[in-house]
Symmetry: D4
Subunit: 152 residues, 8 copies
Amino acid sequence: MSEWTVYLSGEIHTDWREQIVNGAEARDLPITFFSPVTDHSASDDCGAAILGGEDNKFWYDHKGAKVNAIRTRTLIEQSDIVVVRFGDQYKQWNAAFDAGYAAALGKSLIILHDPALTHPLKEVDAAAQAVAETPDQVVRVLQYTTQGVLQR
Amino acid sequence: MSEWTVYLSGEIHTDWREQIVNGAEARDLPITFFSPVTDHSASDDCGAAILGGEDNKFWYDHKGAKVNAIRTRTLIEQSDIVVVRFGDQYKQWNAAFDAGYAAALGKSLIILHDPALTHPLKEVDAAAQAVAETPDQVVRVLQYTTQGVLQR
Amino acid sequence: MSEWTVYLSGEIHTDWREQIVNGAEARDLPITFFSPVTDHSASDDCGAAILGGEDNKFWYDHKGAKVNAIRTRTLIEQSDIVVVRFGDQYKQWNAAFDAGYAAALGKSLIILHDPALTHPLKEVDAAAQAVAETPDQVVRVLQYTTQGVLQR
Amino acid sequence: MSEWTVYLSGEIHTDWREQIVNGAEARDLPITFFSPVTDHSASDDCGAAILGGEDNKFWYDHKGAKVNAIRTRTLIEQSDIVVVRFGDQYKQWNAAFDAGYAAALGKSLIILHDPALTHPLKEVDAAAQAVAETPDQVVRVLQYTTQGVLQR
Amino acid sequence: MSEWTVYLSGEIHTDWREQIVNGAEARDLPITFFSPVTDHSASDDCGAAILGGEDNKFWYDHKGAKVNAIRTRTLIEQSDIVVVRFGDQYKQWNAAFDAGYAAALGKSLIILHDPALTHPLKEVDAAAQAVAETPDQVVRVLQYTTQGVLQR
Amino acid sequence: MSEWTVYLSGEIHTDWREQIVNGAEARDLPITFFSPVTDHSASDDCGAAILGGEDNKFWYDHKGAKVNAIRTRTLIEQSDIVVVRFGDQYKQWNAAFDAGYAAALGKSLIILHDPALTHPLKEVDAAAQAVAETPDQVVRVLQYTTQGVLQR
Amino acid sequence: MSEWTVYLSGEIHTDWREQIVNGAEARDLPITFFSPVTDHSASDDCGAAILGGEDNKFWYDHKGAKVNAIRTRTLIEQSDIVVVRFGDQYKQWNAAFDAGYAAALGKSLIILHDPALTHPLKEVDAAAQAVAETPDQVVRVLQYTTQGVLQR
Amino acid sequence: MSEWTVYLSGEIHTDWREQIVNGAEARDLPITFFSPVTDHSASDDCGAAILGGEDNKFWYDHKGAKVNAIRTRTLIEQSDIVVVRFGDQYKQWNAAFDAGYAAALGKSLIILHDPALTHPLKEVDAAAQAVAETPDQVVRVLQYTTQGVLQR
């Protein structure tokens, strides 16, 4: 049986990642999951905290974003499938950026969002192999994809 | 010794995959085999069953085909050799599509079909490293290729 | 303005290529069109006629298919968009092979076929950016894509 | 002298593209500019208007987004530099998607936005070679980059 | 109509290149031909003559071979089709090296040689799209490939 | 410590492969070695013996060469280093083809041959990272490269 | 959890590599570290010592540099992250070369140097995801990147 | 005849670029030359002058280096040959970085430097197709490479 790697990108304020990881474990799926750092303040501060503070907010953010990109880019490149979750708050441009990055690398994309976001996400959805509304749907797509088992 | 991965694409109504897998096991070949989902109704319904039904047949099929493509594309990309079997029924355009996809990725192609199909398959065969008529021939090509043993 | 290249693959027994090329000229689209050799007997015989006859039909076809592939592969690789037409006759596995080849190279695919073929073509359509039923629709997609003009 | 191609992605409700194109012309820069279709209703309707209407809004949008992607992806791939403009309205996930897509292809990115958007755009900015606040700055970066002339 | 580039590699002691170039001109084929430097002594001496002499024959040859490779590699990479001619004299390992190099880049290969060389060239021929015995056959393959005209 | 893969291409009539493999084992080098099938008659006959005989010698050879290429190409692509040995007999064009193929893929090349062959091999040597005269030298290069140990 | 590979390039006269490797071990980071051969005289002499002496200093160096490149290029290509250290002595052009090589391959770069070198290293730093002044900072970036743990 | 593109990287304080460009013009070589911006102060200030000043010297340099990289990377990628000149002053790490970047992209490298720099440049020279001491030698290599004419 093949081993799969799945990157979980996007929204960090709900437990959708846990739902997917738990669902996959419950079904014994042969998947290793990767994620960005989901601790919001660590993610914001990592550059300045490690490499030295910055008075200028732009550079403070810049340092952190680049350190995060080491993790993000490497793990997306190592993944077979990239799941990107869009929530109903915040700009979430990093999520859309990840989706575009993954699409250009030829990764299979699964986009997870509420139907209310269909219109503004149409370009992102159009690049995806599957558009889901719930984490459970994502788990079932992963189950079908990796095990060939369709849970109706 | 090297480890090999082989994807078995195409016709799903006879037991050719089992013959190849069993033949490889009997010879202890160092091969991991991959396949698409070969349960016809699961393959047709997976999109709508998981992600939501569709009245329009085009979109019903579309959703399913895209979910299947997550598995198909990923596993073809992970394979060293792609075997594509054409039977005597159905359009089998997905099999020819897989062959073209694999060829463009530089995979070694083995095409398996009855001599009666030689003329319509000539462009596909021309892209292959080997054209076989029986699963046993495929097994022997795999044995030679992976173990260096020629069973005459 | 950008210059575009479009490859017209597939069915060779109707005048769909002429309709598209004429429609593009009428609209002054900035497109160079490429095609395989559409003279059926030349396409079948080119290998043996030039490089020497073959008694064995398999090799007769093989030689021709490989010579045709020089043209086909090169022009697909040079194209921005690949249009693939499926008719209601013949196996047309070379058309599906071209579609898979183009998809793996990341080309934009437009598939042209009658709705009656939707189910057997679902995997091919799923890889496409557009699925059209008439040459006129293809021309209008090309017009919109290359000129940004939407003819409603 | 080298010839350059620059793709102008993102916000479509102000005249920033015209400012850049006019500024480049005034300086005689050796640049061909590409853009998505910036007519909002044409962009929304192109799929259904050409390929057939859809009752379901998701598929209506989907068809249009895929047709637009033919233009968008092709022109981004043909560009040396991709400029992405973020405005203060709308979700603009397609702009961030384009930025990620271009970054993965190794294109030089110039991001254009108001300083108020610095924090939510930090991951996008971190992938850029230049972050500008005004179209005039973009023109001057292009002038320096293509002509080697620094207008202080 | 498409423009083609063809690289003529291999044997330098007969006029096969001239025959192909003249035949292509006579048929008005849309082809630009590239060649290595075919002046044997210039090819041997170019490194030492320009960059400084070497007492050690290995380095004398090494310098020259590397300078020649600038031309050879660049032009092979720019070509659509690579024709490689093997004669009946000399080792001609550089010709076989060029064939392998072109094959790995996915170029279309046409191999030109006497039937007497079939057995030792079998691996090279197996990577080719066409195996010809005469320059005239090569010209006719190029005519068919680029113009779609089959001269029987 | 890193794990390395090394492909041993070329001459099959002396025991140079055994010398290198034994030398590597004696030094406990972290290397997996790959080779083509070195049984000459198996290598010649594999195509026809498995896939069906051919009266025409060209196609007999062709079938075999293509089956061998499945093994050869796959293992070269999986290797970090490709060692190519040229002996003093036979045409050995397949060895030079492999060297060109490996060079185009960016593999590190080590060429092994007698100084008498320096001139005809100059283009091949010029693409190599090391040119050795004895299997023992190759082992020592591999020891240095993989373990960082220089045996003077 | 993901496994990471990190290449440590550059200065060989201080113990910065040991500090990073030890720091990573102390934190139990899931990283395999690679390095060039850091024994200066072995690195200088490896070519001539193994493959034969050279009177001409250029070729003496050339042989050694190419043998070292087998190790260097292969390990950089296998790495997720490349750390390049610049000290205050010597030309260190090989360090900058490695940085450029890694950048072109899309590797994440971390540059480690004293602030005094900021101006001459500005082009190298501009290609990096992080610029550190101490080995401890590098360890903390690696800890954050691979474990998601921010040690403030 | 083929058209060539050559990028001239490195040292900016002597007239070596003019010598090469003039020499190429005098010989009517079919070459378009590209260069970085060689106005030292413009190159240093371009980021801050266009995009806004920075008190922190690191970010001042950083902004400029990134803007320069738009030009540098794009033109190196468009070039067939990259010539890199090292002088006897300054760190010149950007030159070595460009050489590594070009090498990883598979460009043909010509390195131009005084023999006194042979030892510290050995890794850079080892990646080159030619190592020259004078601009005139570079011109003659370009003449031979592009025209096939050896001026002894």
